[in-house]
Amino acid sequence: MKEHHLHLAITTGELLLRNGAEISRVEQTISYMARYMGAMRVDCFVTPTGMIISLVMAEETHTLVRRITSRSYNLAAVMELNDLSRRFCNGEIPAVALAERLDNLSRPIPAKGQNLKMSLASGLGSLGFSLISGLRLPLALAYATINGAVVRYTLDYLTDRIAINSSLAVLLSSTLLTTLTFFYPGLDATNRNLVNMGGLFLLLPGVTLTTSFRDLANGDLLTGVSRLAEALLSLTLVAAGVIVSFTIWPWLQEVLLR
C-alpha cells in the first residue's frame, strides 16, 4: 500500500467528524484504516475542531493535521463512511474507488426542494415537542408548527444564501421567532410561551450538551469541554435573541398602533 494513501484515512476521519460522528468512532476508523495500509503504530488526537494523527510506517514517522471548520449532523453520510471504511479494510474496494467516493461525499449536492422538506419536517417536529411540553390548544399547536417551519427556513436562508455565520443566524432566528409569536392572536401568556418554546426547541443545543457530558464521562476531557462551550454559546445566543425581541416588542407595538 502506498504511503500517500494514508491521506484517505484522515479524509475519512475528517468527513466523519464533519458529519457528526462520535470522537471515538473517528479515532477508531482512522486507526483501522492506517493499520490496514501498513502503519505499525497510529496515534490519533481528535477534537471537534481539528485532528492530529501520527503514524509510523516503514520506519518513518508521518504527522498529519486537519482543521475542522464546520460541523453538522448527516447520519446518512456517517453510515456510508462507516460502511466504506469497513469494506476498504476488508479489501472489498480499492483505494481509487474509495478516494472517488470520499470526494463526492465532501461536496454534497443538495436535492431539489430540500429546504421546503426540511422546513416541513421542522414544523412537524415542533408540533411533536409542543405536545410533549403540554400544549393542547389546537390553534396554539398550529402556531407552533408554523414556528418550527419558519425557524428552519430562516436558519437555512441566513446560513446558505446570505452566508452569515451560524452563531449570528441562531441569534437572528431566535429574535424573529419570538417577535413572530407576539403577533399570533388568541393566545394567553402561558400558551404563547409554549408556542415560542416549540420553535426554539430546534435551536437549543440539547444534543450537544448531552454529548459533551458523555465525552467528559468517557475521559475525552478536551472534547467534552469544547462541546460544553459550544452548547453554552448557543444557549446564550438563543436567550439573547428572546431578550432582544422582548425589548423591541413594546416599541414595535407602539409603531404599529400609530
Binding site: 457528526g20 449532523y73 447520519l75 426540511m118 411533536g128 405536545l131 440539547g206 450538551l209 436567550a239
Partner: protein
C-alpha cells in the same frame, strides 16, 4: 385502560424524534426505530412523574437497549439510532429556562435550573452507558450459565 395523555406524549415524542432524525439526514430505515426509541424514552420520563432523574435514566437505558438491538440488525452505527431517539429527553428547554431566569436576574432559579440540567444530562449519560455495560455483561453471563449446565 390506556392513559390518553401517555399516548399523546408517546406520539408527540415519536413525531419529534422522527422529524429530528430527518433533519439530521437519517435514512428511512433508521427513522422508524429512532422514532419508537424516542417515544419509549419519553414514555419512561412521563411514567416516572416527579422522579425526573430516574425517569430520564430509565428512558436513556431503554433507548440504549433498543439501539443496541436494532443497529447491528440494520448494519448501522449505534449513533444513528441514539441521536434521533435521545431528542425528546435532552434537557434543552430546561437549560433555556434556567439560562433565561439567570439573565433576568433570578440567580437562585437560574442556578437551581442549571444544576437540574447537569443532573438530567448525567442521567442520560448514565442510562446510555448502563445499557452498554449490560449489553456486554448479559451475553457473558448467559454463556457462563450454559457452560455450567
Amino acid at each position: 385502560m390506556i392513559d390518553l395523555q401517555l399516548l399523546i406524549n408517546f406520539g408527540g415524542a415519536a413525531l419529534g424524534a422522527w422529524c429530528y432524525g430527518y433533519l439530521f439526514g437519517a435514512p428511512l430505515k433508521i427513522l422508524i426505530p429512532g422514532a419508537l426509541a424516542g417515544g419509549v424514552a419519553f414514555a419512561c420520563v412521563y411514567l416516572c412523574g416527579e422522579a425526573i432523574f430516574w425517569g430520564t435514566a430509565l428512558g436513556a437505558l431503554g433507548l440504549g437497549f433498543i439501539a443496541r438491538l436494532v443497529a447491528p440488525r440494520l448494519r448501522v452505527p449505534l449513533t444513528a439510532v441514539i441521536v434521533p431517539g435521545i431528542i425528546p429527553i435532552v434537557p434543552g428547554v430546561s437549560a433555556y429556562n434556567a439560562f433565561m431566569a439567570a439573565v433576568q436576574g433570578d440567580y437562585i432559579l437560574g442556578i437551581t435550573g442549571m444544576i437540574n440540567v447537569v443532573t438530567y444530562t448525567m442521567a442520560i449519560a448514565m442510562g446510555l452507558n448502563g445499557a452498554d455495560l449490560l449489553y456486554r455483561v448479559i451475553p457473558r453471563w448467559q454463556r457462563g450459565r450454559k457452560q455450567r449446565t
